[in-house]
Subunit: 337 residues, 2 copies
């Protein structure tokens, strides 16, 4: 554990500063001395003490990715991508679990980790524009996903309204007319508002009536809530012939309720989700979904954050809408079926 710069300096017969320069190339070092130092480093197996380095530099080399739930496969898949990208840029990514808790999100935003992390990628669900604007310090911040717009931070998301419209368009094209929406906003969750708006707009553009009984609110976006609300929808006098779910987890919960009720998918009820989690590629039936470009979102978020941290990016905050595509699977009938 204990081999440090001084040990190397002694061994190579040079000063501390020279060793430091060899290690991180802040200033040029003559070829002969560089070799001597490098040899000493190799022999003694030196690796810099990051704590000390970062105390000096004022940076820790850690960035955080805060998501509402680690157990949502969408975020797990995103995290894997972001971790790899961060590692490639020399950073370590720390996962934070906000548990969709407003206080936790606020604390993170205010910089509760400010001495630990250099920057934060946040997927907000319980806070909005005002809270983000009120933030005065805490280092660079990149927002991902929906929820907060028009704030002075880099922001990466898909176009939720368009995504919803694409889903509804698909359902209409396969002949569905009574289309339900599961996952309406439980108050302050703007992402749900956006997807709801896309749902309404699309219905209107196809001259389909908006029926409030076909809109199901959920407190959280889980399989369990999807199952519960789907049961309610099936209990209607005139149940829906299609369901658009806020996300894939809800859709899979809906599958469960449909299976228990003996409804066939897609014959009786077609289902579309959003997220394209791997689970939906193996469920029975497989799940038609709107697939965001997770690679792009994860990598871009990390790259923008690192650019801000290192000061190489000073341009105005950027809002990026990453592409999405509709992936047809069994839950809406196979193409040509």
């Amino acid at each position: 554990m204990g081999v440090n710069l001084k040990d190397i300096a002694q061994r190579a017969g040079v000063s501390l500063a020279t060793v430091s320069n060899v290690v991180n190339g802040y200033r040029p070092v003559g070829e002969r001395t560089r070799q001597r130092v490098q040899q000493a480093i190799d022999e003694l197996g030196y690796s810099p003490n990051l704590g000390a380095r970062h105390l000096r530099r004022g940076r820790t080399g850690l960035i955080a990715l805060a998501v509402p739930e680690l157990t949502n496969p969408y975020f797990a898949e995103l995290a894997e991508i972001a971790i790899a990208e961060a590692a490639g840029l020399g950073y370590t990514l720390v996962m934070e679990n906000t548990a969709a808790d407003r206080e936790t999100e606020l604390a993170l935003l205010a910089g509760s980790r400010r001495h630990i992390i250099d920057g934060l990628i946040l997927s907000p669900v319980r806070i909005g524009r005002e809270e983000v604007l009120a933030r005065t310090s805490g280092g660079p911040l990149v927002l991902i996903g929906e929820g907060v717009h028009d704030v002075p931070h880099d922001h990466i998301a898909i176009d939720n309204v368009a995504a919803s419209q694409a889903a509804i368009q698909h359902l209409v094209e396969i002949g569905r007319r009574r289309i339900a929406f599961i996952g309406a906003a439980g108050g302050d969750r703007q992402s749900a508002h956006l997807r709801m708006r896309g749902y309404r707009d699309a219905l209107a553009s196809y001259s389909l009536p908006f029926r409030s009984e076909l809109v199901a609110r959920t407190d959280e976006f889980s399989r369990l809530e999807g199952m519960r609300t789907m049961r309610d929808l099936l209990a209607l006098d005139d149940p829906p012939d299609a369901v658009f779910a806020y996300n894939d987890l809800i859709a899979i919960g809906a599958f469960r309720a449909l299976a228990e009720a003996g409804c066939r998918v897609p014959e009786d009820v077609a289902v579309v989700g959003i997220d394209d989690i791997e689970e939906g590629r193996f469920s029975s039936p497989t799940l038609t979904t709107i697939a965001p470009d997770k690679e792009e979102i994860g990598r871009l978020a990390v790259r923008r954050l690192v650019a801000r941290i290192e000061g190489t990016e000073v341009a105005a905050p950027l809002t990026v809408q990453t592409p999405f595509r509709l992936v047809r699977r069994e839950s809406t009938g196979t193409p040509g079926g």
Copy 2:
């Protein structure tokens, strides 16, 4: 961020050391001064610079949980528990993704993060006893899951042989005789060996023949591999009437192959997995599984690691076998059905 010990000291009119003592109580401070200092802290909103503190103390307050894949819900669920437990003990838990890569596991073991983390919880899959024994430094280590036994480190796992036996027993009790096993060891993965052993032993104890054509090897333990190998099993002249899968993901992949082949579960083929991931509670059919006590594993791993780090635990390394239970669901028929 800028408000540090010195600022507080000036404001309260005392020395640096006194403020430090108020903050972390290393030595007693008079009541009157303590109050003055506390007031200054509150007014200026001081929070200690963890980098500096840890440089001085030689600890960082970070621990890592290294798992083979973040996107495996079992590990995501475990991580959520471990993160909460670590936070309660004043530590921040960093997730590391080994991607089931031998080199990554070795690097982590050797202490590639030694200046960043105080200790490591590792779920090894590509390294074995010798590699762990060869380790000379790198701070406290707690092993979870299977794979490595008889090493001088705390180790938390379920009894894999017994778990497998319980699964087989259940399948036998519901009348199955041709029981396949998916997820045999692809070489060095000892966990698969153990589950395989439980499978063999259980078959023997029920006087059932061991048929090698009913054992499917997989390179990784994913839904995709489960689907592929299940297809192969169904192509046999005399296909199995039950499948015991290495884990739930494989079982769910097998579901997919069974659905595509038009096989009914559990009527034609019964399926049992291990892990009890939430996905299996909503799949169609729902998945019978061996449920490890994830709460216990996650919390115990963190507690043991922290105890080692803080030196409060000096007893010999402990191997804990946490309990498991069989959870009956549709994939083996409902109780009494």
